[in-house]
Amino acid sequence: MAQSLAKEFTKGLWAEIPPFRLVLGLCPVLAVTKSVENGIGMGIATTFVLIFSNLLISLLRNIIPSKVRIACYVVIIATFVTIVELLMQAYTYELFLKLGIFIPLIVVNCIVLGRAEAFASKNGPVLSIADGLGIGLGFTLSLAALGAVRELLGNGTLTIWGGTPVFEMGASFLPFQFMIEAPGAFVGLGLMLCMMNLIGKK
């Protein structure tokens, strides 16, 4: 039990890390990774939704009729996304302003619906939470990593949390404007996927 729990948790961190291995949820990945802070914020919001939707769907998996399961999943996911949206407005308003429309769009994020359909609807609640946590953390890490590359090259700074940069490249550094724009996200994503494949190659 403990072994499979660990397995479900760690698979999200490398073997099935969402944007790179599963290549899912690319819309927020491309749109919000302009800085590390945005990436972490988006990742945490998605993780919250993943954990709770996985838990609820797994608890209700024998009650939900299979013909309307997608509708039920969407209702559950949309509920948690709206909760995240309200909580972010109440407690982290500045981050909410930066992420804007991409918070409500978590509803249609393939990762969340994908985990509900592929995992939570077939496994128990504890395993489902481990799965949601693992995939969510993997997603957060990938967004933060991609955000770090893009922010460092495109803006010359690194901002972990709270709006003040922890690292600056200095005045002599000329930022690549390109990395902050959408094509920069594709290039960054491609290069990181390429490196992951290189490391993972046996």
Partner: protein, 193 residues
Amino acid sequence: MREMMNMIIVLTVLTAFSGGLLSAIQSGTAVKIENQVLKFQKAPAIAEIFPEATNDPLAERFNVTTDGSELQIFPGILADGSKAVAFETKGVGFGGPIGLMVGINLDTDQIIQARVTTHAETPGIGTRAKDDLSFVGQFAGKGLDTNFALKGENGEIDAISGATVTSKGVSIAAMQAKELYQKLKPEIIKQIK
């Protein structure tokens, strides 16, 4: 038939439960969210509308009642001593309501400045209504006899190209501001001292 009933019951219970949960959380966070909006949306807008106010418009805010709903009024005293008010109205844009904070000089009945506050417009398109100050800047200095409709509708406001729905939402908010101001001016003057 049984299966059908089962589906209907499960979906109904699920949606009812989610509706109840959301309304509970909404009412629990409403006050906090309003404070955040005041701090991050209304305060900067007011600072730009009354850059040289000699009083504190935020601290002196008061409510007036109109048609059963409350309108928050921010009074400002300008550098030359004349009195002004700022308040927010809403128009409907592409992604939902757009808030427009309008500052009006009580002595001359002229718009001092206007700023977009809360909105859910498309990044890079509708958001230009907020970020491109030449659009909301059109309202500055206009008297309240101006027709705030878009130019395509025989008004005097230039729409943002590519963001007509957003522009229209802002223009509707401005028209609403004009209407409210004309209706509420006596009440506002009474409260402002």
